[in-house]
Symmetry: C2
Subunit: 225 residues, 2 copies
């Protein structure tokens, strides 16, 4: 059961809300939950963990894939107002890949359980359209990352990553170790350290223990073109 | 306009066929085309080339992405009976990545033009479900390739590629140059040649001008585990 503020929030975010019957709206309201996740906590753990549809109220979630050996690669992030249908995997016909989602900052989400979501998705074409549209947004995100990995040289990728991260942290200082960055980029620490050393020599950044400071944003941006 | 045999074919392949009105069925029949594509010809050329829904009647299509510098990476293949909705990109809300499709063998397809497909997709929930399901199949294909590229060592990937290619060609002899293989795998010719030389030294394959012969399938398979 969610409160009035949350009801208003989700009715604005879910484009299909007004196409639902009042009974369906009530079912969603009664069964949905507002859940807090502390930084670092797992929000969704792959196909077997079919939670439901997630709407981010605040904070930041990271979606990633995981190799057998424990290597992680970040696919995309979910911010306030973003919606995830992948976490209702078992309601989605033919989705057969594992994704993982964790809270990257202290976060709060609204969770609509899979059975309710699946029920309205089966019956209501507006919900289907919405599902399809959100799926294609994530598919596009993944294709973008894939093209980056396959086609872009590492200096360009790293420069883009640093600029993006700086904009997320809203600061010129990025609080991450080389290891952290390597994890996000699906690369190795050595490769990241080598390129950061080059960036430092060129005066683009200054590296300190546990953080990187962007000292010449303009030059960093020029690499990305 | 397609003939009776083609009508029977598509009515079997399109799960939503019986949920269409007879007018909608007639529109599809009247507007669809059966098109031949010789090996090597382009079937779909990215977002600006929004053709429609494709059903493969015979042959083999290759779906790939393309970098600015012309580098290609194969994402998945479409065989007889396979369906592609990505080629109706402009009918799909939020699809914003470029894919390319070419005939890898002499092929024949049925094309349902985008405007007709989009029209029934907007109105009919069974068509939406079908669209969503086909989209997620391709999304899963892409995730599989992505995990291969990110997480799998190159010997494993190459062994799997050779075995898959041999099964597609239905022969122990694969008619491809090292350059061709590199193109398919998003790798460089030198990397492929080096690994093939290693495979040859181990007695897994024998390389000849323009082809690779699998000489020890069992050992090649053992690498892939």
């Amino acid at each position: 059961m969610i409160n009035n503020k949350d009801i208003e929030f989700i009715s604005n975010k879910l484009e299909f809300w007004n196409s639902l019957t009042s009974l369906e709206q009530k079912q969603i309201i009664n069964r949905s939950q507002s859940l807090p996740y502390l930084k670092g906590k797992s929000v969704y753990g792959g196909l077997d963990d079919c939670r439901g549809l997630i709407i981010v109220k605040k904070g930041q979630l990271r979606t990633y894939i995981l190799s057998e050996s424990g290597k992680e690669v970040t696919l995309y992030r979910l911010f306030k107002d973003d919606i995830c249908v992948m976490s209702a995997s078992c309601a989605l016909n033919n989705m057969n890949f594992d994704l993982y989602i964790e809270a990257e900052k202290d976060s709060e989400i609204i969770l609509i359980p899979t059975d309710i979501y699946s029920q309205i998705n089966q019956k209501n074409i507006e919900v289907q359209k919405f599902t399809n549209s959100v799926t294609l947004t994530r598919f596009s995100d993944v294709m973008w990352i894939m093209e980056q990995i396959l086609f872009m040289s590492f200096d360009k990728r790293l420069a883009m990553f640093l600029l993006e991260q700086s904009s997320i942290e809203n600061s010129d200082t990025i609080h991450m170790t080389h290891e952290d960055i390597a994890k996000h980029m699906g690369s190795a620490r050595e490769v990241v350290s080598r390129m950061l050393k080059y960036f430092q020599n060129e005066g683009f950044v200054r590296t300190e223990r546990g953080s990187i400071i962007l000292t010449n944003r303009k030059k960093l941006q020029s690499i990305t073109f």
